[in-house]
């Protein structure tokens, strides 16, 4: 029921949505999040990104997060894809899609998965900008967002 993938290549939102809905008669609600490369971060014009991960641990972390979401809300399907390697401006980085019989559960679970992914899944971003390459610093706001989940 869960599809979790760390991959180099681009993903297709159309294919992911189709996989979430195909022969899924019980779930009336589908919430999807897509995160992509913004062109400005902390003032320097970003040209692209490189994403590093911890093979093995990253996948395990994403599986644990998804399992915890299922323990909190009645979910049908969950699909979580995260790209690694070099990414260009406007490339999509992450897709999280969940289905549920209940709209509120689908919204809450999708947001919960993203909040935890941002604070604990082992991914590291390196930005290329006009002023050179730099590792992105963790943002305090993501940690604060986690606090609401207790």
């Amino acid at each position: 029921m869960d599809f979790i993938e760390v991959r180099k290549g681009a993903f297709s939102v159309a294919e992911e949505f189709a996989a979430l809905r195909r022969e899924n008669r019980g779930d009336g609600a589908c919430v999807m999040f897509v995160g992509s490369v913004r062109d400005f971060n902390a003032g320097a014009a970003v040209r692209g990104l490189k994403l590093e991960h911890y093979p093995g641990m990253t996948e395990k972390s994403l599986q644990d997060i998804t399992a915890d979401a299922r323990a909190h809300w009645p979910l049908g399907r969950v699909r979580l894809l995260h790209r690694v390697g070099p990414l260009a401006l406007q490339d999509d980085i992450v897709f999280v899609g969940v289905t549920s019989p209940h709209r509120q559960a689908a919204f809450a679970a999708c947001q919960y998965i993203m909040d935890r992914l941002k604070t604990e899944a082992p991914f590291w971003k390196q930005e290329s900008s006009e002023t050179g390459d730099r590792w992105v610093a963790a943002r305090e706001i993501d940690k604060r967002e986690m606090e609401k989940w207790g």
């Binding site: 911890y54 093979p55 395990k60 991914f123 590291w124 390196q126 992105v136």
Partner: protein, 95 residues
């Protein structure tokens, strides 16, 4: 730079495998280090590695450095045993 963190299972020999990621990997100039017959906690290992390699001392003492043992997030007090895979890395920034 040495081998980067591999996909295989943690090693079960009489040594521990230590992995470094992202900015820490670049600061140390290596992605992996192996240690035989080590026994101690995560925080003791940080101190020990800094004593062995003076250049590593400052990066390994960064206040926000995180650690995992066998691919689970670890505390400073987590014990390390033979065959463990230990990883040190900066705060995560995915998504």
């Amino acid at each position: 730079m040495a081998v980067s963190g591999g996909i295989g299972a943690p090693e079960v020999s009489g040594m521990i495998k230590i992995l470094f990621f992202a900015s820490l990997r670049e600061q140390l100039g290596t992605a992996e280090y192996k240690l035989e017959n080590y026994s101690g906690s995560v925080s003791e290992l940080r101190t020990y590695l800094g004593e062995q390699f003076p250049d590593w001392q400052a990066p390994l003492q960064a206040a926000d450095l995180q650690a995992a043992v066998n691919r689970e997030m670890a505390l400073a007090s987590t014990r390390i045993a033979d065959g463990d895979e230990v990883a040190f890395f900066p705060p995560v920034t995915g998504g």
